[in-house]
Symmetry: D2
Subunit: 478 residues, 4 copies
């Protein structure tokens, strides 16, 4: 039995959507939600009627729907908080997250959903998105192509669906809101089961190229500031049936093609790669920051891409989030952060909102050292827990995530103003702030010279690393 | 918007089923598969037409559709291989596995599926199941209630659906085939999102009890040899919002209720608990064999249950599979094995077919020491990789899994016949095979006596543990 | 070549001690530290001359040698901080930690050490210990027998060494200071390489019993409040050469012997077992709280022991520290806490001082729910990093660890006073605070009754788990 | 108190050596082992008197002191087994491994050891090494400078000690035996506690350069085929007190210096870096193959170094050993293998001898694809378990490790001769063996062309990955 395109369409909808009503020809405003629809069939009034515009009320507030630490226009370390943080809402988690997991059906039952994956539904969802963004008070959003508009039977139909939704998004963006980044979702459809750019099937490679091409165009059209590659299934399940060398070469060619196309269409945003070590594959090629940097160097792409570091991906690869941020930063590659966190005892990507104040402070330390992230920012690649099913939970979670990073930023300001942590580090390395130190750092001290000096100097004195003192200073800023 | 029961029904189907055709009123034999359907609308002929009855051809065979090591009636260590191994096919993985994962849509496209979750489809699938079992040459199968028959709008309707499918299963079982075990699936439906027996909602607790009651009846009716509890969502995502003590007490009461009901209906099969450390929750209450044994002791259930040890669960909890098998065995609790394996570098349950010969040999060592598993056996709680999409892959995977355990059993026979490993162990402990050793082991040697002896004996001689020699002996049997 | 006892003695010293001076007949006050020794050969003056008595200066203090959060006599939640926290200094880490690791030699160079493991050195070290304790302002200490006094050629000599040092310790304790607990160190000496109570060698089993007997006597003599069993090598490296069942039975007998001896000598302190999953062995028998509880139940020891939970051990076993504390608490077994932390990315026991405020708050939540830990307390089973080599680092680390837990306690007070977290949890379970809920909890609701109710009630309503809100409330207390 | 050089010397000896006798002026042949010493004070006769030259006896042999699979001169896949495998004995594990671990004193009691770290002892140990190598029948050994000769009070004295021992080694090597590689041990001495090349102390950097310089000279003098850098402590414990960027720059300069010096002295061996993710530090800079490749590219060292992949390090970094070998191979960097294995449930480096046949087959698959490893080879960076204390255990362990890899090689030959696995892989990628495939692989297919094609081709057909079949084929070769 061969699957027909419409079947694939229906099949896809199952992954992300609860099938509430009759499937076939859903009205713009389906029977179930009639009371919220006007004569035009369009949803009327607010999507989040009980939720006010979120305001800053300061640390003593007990109001779950207020910021306690994030005060957008307050200046910290010479910049407004909103300019350090450049928050973005992730469309897929917030508006396409259904609560489904490998062992369970969807749990979310958002009032605006009619159970279809139609273009009309996509447009209603987009309106909800912008109301959410506006109420939350952020200026950016991120999207996957297939999550904002339904797949069609053909590439042309998919593109046309996308165009229709994107036109609405452009209108709703207004003058202030822009995509932090867009991307192509190359992992849900079964055609991508072996990867996109690294699929052993040439037709899939071409299909992936066509999809990325369109997603880049759309991101450009919407004024997106960056474009992201997350290699959803670029990796392997088993080396026994995989030609890893050939797949990596294909991936190199694919990204070279993306660079060429970016230039052709005049897109000036940053191209970003998002490392992840595992899941869904056993081994994702963009394992971590260093692995990805090695790939970029090998394939002549090092000046063309930056990295989008996700905290939960960093920890799954065995590093602290701070480590992978610093690794990216020192290679000149820190471009964006997917702000989330994992569970320290859990071996998969839980994509939780970051709530750890110490962690947030370390993240912001890297950001401040990097002089900020612009044109990148913080994308909330974080989802409500499956069991959190109230509409207000969407706001509570984002407020918590924003406040945590804002609190981290405030802590960094305290650490910098206090100065003692930087001084402790400076002192540790001061023996290199000397003439011979400079020679070594300039590559002018050969082994013979160094041996002579070592003999002359005798047994080195090696002072305490003062790690506990450093931890004490750090903690006192929290 | 409230969800109507039919919506829930449809919603559920999305988790496990590819939606191929028009949804609404699927014919018994839908348009897409017309050619295989007769006038009655029933599927005609074989489901696996190209696949022969699988035969034993011995180790030199290159035929992927033949056994190389499993020879059902061959005697090993005094029993037929089939009596040591008591293989069972897991209905859910083999017939409801769709290839969906958290990042991707279903990939399997089995010819007998019509994209619905109807009773008619359930029955056709059941016929496929028994053809599969018969061709594979095993005598047992395992099932979840909701996977063999569709959920209804009410408990009564669900029960009635189940009864209809179970009646067919009973007929198809014939005289030889029986369920190794049945179970209730208490984790897919959103009502169970906080757990079943440990849900904070009393109504859910009652619903779970009703479902387990029925599943026990059905298992009994089909001649099932055991009944399993896998606490799909009995655990927590966060301790902050959880009353763990109260939840554990509820779980204790629930299992006490199951024991009482088992006795009431005269079901003589073994009740089994299947430990798993994590996933879908951050912490599952039945973490591992020892944790579950502690629970059983605490709640007065120690004589009433045995354990169903799953290798992939054991390794996720930080133990080798062999360790958890031995822990269960030494506590008198080894009742059944879910035969699969994980990926040593992967932090989630991959449910792969076991292919590691050394691992299989250790597993069989525990089984032989246990005198076999009966009335338990080996259930293939293992699934095809998402990217394996040929019908024949279902057979290849099961043949590989069966051959691997058969090879393990043959190796154990070699180890036992050789005797040198057992002798090495015996010698290590021989100082306790003495009069004072016996006193100690009988609890008759107090600290004062032992101190006196220790002073008398002086510095103990402590010989080599000979671990490398033990490994050498073990390897030479592989 | 047979090793002579004196050789063993010297050999042992190498593990823990830097060999500074001439080895053989070290003077009470060796040449190298002459200037600090009076005519008597005894160390004169302070061991920590630059360090004042540590005082509480409040959160704004920048003084590394002051408490910012721990104010011993301040009342929190109805008790003095010191009575909630009952801090103890671990002799072995603080005074026998050398900075040696598997890849490196000792790095600590404490001025009072003369490089020997003599009784004289042991006594000088004990004086340093009590000066440290007094300056830090705690009332408790913990010790291993072989770390406070040198091993002798025979049990009698070892005991006599121990007696001599313990007599001094008793004098130095004065009226206020007592051991939180003592223990026998059964893992350093090669005789214990296969374990103590679980060694396959009967003579080792007896030796271990003799050593524990003496350590219990000495703990009792010093007024110790508890006695701890940490099964340093009670476990296995490989199951291939191990009779796990026999070893566990021996361990059961051994602990039964300890209980009997405790009663015989009238020691009223609590016996504690300290779970640890791995290291030095691949598998330690006391894996985690639940495993140990299962063991205690199986061997009839459940009323006789409590648990000493170590945070770093909990996380190595795959649990959060809070989880294992709650598991112990709910089983009535929470007796003591080894206060430390691990590195979330590191697979071995790093024994770091706890500095994470969120973690400390969760730890204190368990302690407060337990009504405190007395007669147990918090033992700092934490060590300076190898690279921290200043004497003041010992103080800084302890102050940081004490302040972190004190801060945790203050946060718990805020959470309890605020009340909204408890209220959120209470509400989640309120459906059980009903008549039928009470019936279920009393074990009076059988499956038939529950089925009847479930049918009557129809589809359950399942509210949001509000996890993000719970996290928000929790974070706002930090 | 300042440490005197002699104290450091003594201190160091404690890490690796059991202190048996009187320390001070050990005679060449100490009192304890008098009976084995002649008038010259030199050890007479064999070190391993009961051990024959190890011979190949074939798979049916039960003799622990014979090879069952390794037949040095047998040809497999066109080369002698010894030329594929190029085995090397690691001096440090085999002759300096004491059985000490973080919780325990040394356990090995080799008859030739006198408890000192003297030059005389070093020379006797070297004789034992060569007898061992000869009896085992291998042609290579590997060494750390400080493990073959004692540290002196000054660089000059250390160098002079080294020269004396090396002269003997050269003589004992004869015409056939050569070092596979040498290295400088920059991690045991406290001066290296913050690293060598990455120490914040300039004097330590110089000291490290002097030590590496000498070790390179010595390796060259002995005819070593490679020189290895294992960055024992090149990494960090905490980022709070670390300037990672500056440290990495220093490491780059250091390795550039090594390259220059290599050329200067005319050493033509390969320089190798050995990746390791963690331990002793929380984060080692040479984390894994990809991280190290990125470093080499960044610092202009990519043509100058290859990698020494250690299986246990690979798995600790989250990869399979096969993955890291393939990663190195595909980057042209596979230079040598440290043949060992870890425990899949253990989070630290256990350095066990490889015994897993499947793993060994995968390792050999990479080696065969690489055309062998020469001038690299297989170094047994593996140690006896602490509890294995018989001299014969040293032989048993090496025989087991050699046989396992030999068995892997034989399996690879079967896989290659069978051909079906390679064919399965070839077929998966055959859509790229076309004109358009070639265009893509040559970088000549831009996104617009690919989009045109994708539209033209329609929905791609995506066949099964046949992973289970691949596993079946693989297993049948074992």
């Amino acid at each position: 039995m061969k699957m027909k395109p419409v079947e694939i369409l229906l099949l896809l909808l199952c992954l992300n959507v609860a099938v509430f009503g009759v499937i076939g020809n859903p009205p713009t405003c389906p029977a179930d939600i009639d009371s919220k629809c006007g004569d035009s069939g369009e949803w009327e009034g607010e999507f989040f009627p009980g939720i006010p515009k979120i305001k800053y009320e300061g640390p003593t507030s007990k109001n779950p729907l207020a910021f306690k630490w994030y005060n957008a226009d307050e200046e910290i370390l010479g910049k407004k908080m909103k300019d350090w943080l450049r928050f973005s809402v992730a469309f897929w988690h917030t508006f396409r997250g259904t609560g489904g997991d490998p062992f369970g059906a969807p749990t979310k039952n958002w009032p605006w959903e009619d159970g279809t994956n139609s273009v009309a539904m996509a447009k209603r969802r987009m309106r909800a998105n912008f109301e959410f963004i506006n109420k939350l008070g952020v200026d950016r959003w991120c999207f996957h192509d297939r999550d904002i508009a339904p797949d069609g039977k053909t590439i042309e139909e998919s593109n046309s669906n996308l165009d229709e939704v994107v036109a609405l998004a452009k209108e709703l963006q207004g003058t202030k809101i822009r995509p932090l980044w867009g991307t192509a979702q190359l992992f849900v459809h079964p055609r991508y089961m072996h990867g996109g750019a690294t699929s052993p099937e040439l037709h899939v490679y071409a299909y992936a190229a066509a999809q990325v091409k369109k997603a880049m165009e759309v991101t450009h059209y919407l004024g997106g500031e960056n474009y992201v590659f997350w290699g959803g299934r670029e990796g392997y399940q088993s080396l026994l049936n995989t030609d890893m060398g050939r797949e990596l070469d294909h991936m190199g060619r694919f990204l070279q093609g993306a660079v060429a196309y970016k230039k052709k269409i005049g897109f000036n945003g940053t191209l970003l790669i998002e490392p992840k070590p595992q899941e869904p594959t056993k081994h994702q090629y963009d394992w971590d920051a260093a692995t990805t940097a090695n790939f970029l160097r090998k394939y002549g792409l090092i000046g063309e891409f930056k990295l989008n570091i996700e905290c939960n991906h960093a920890t799954l690869s065995g590093h602290s989030c701070h480590h992978d941020l610093e690794t990216a930063r020192l290679d000149g590659l820190l471009g964006n952060i997917d702000a989330n966190t994992g569970d320290p005892q859990t071996g998969w990507d839980t994509d939780q909102f970051l709530t750890d104040i110490g962690e947030a402070t370390l993240v912001m330390l890297s950001v401040v050292r990097n002089g900020g992230l612009a044109p990148g920012g913080f994308n909330f690649d974080a989802k409500l827990r499956r069991e959190s099913t109230d509409v207000e939970d969407l706001f509570i979670a984002h407020i918590l995530g924003m406040d945590t990073l804002a609190r981290g930023l405030r802590n960094v300001a305290k650490i910098i103003e206090d100065g003692s942590l930087a001084e402790l580090v400076r002192k540790r390395y001061q023996s290199f702030d000397t003439e011979i130190g400079a020679q070594i750092e300039a590559g002018k001290a050969d082994f013979e010279f160094l041996e002579k000096k070592a003999i002359e100097w005798g047994e080195p004195k090696v002072p305490s690393a003062k790690q506990e003192l450093a931890e004490m200073i750090f903690q006192s800023a929290l």
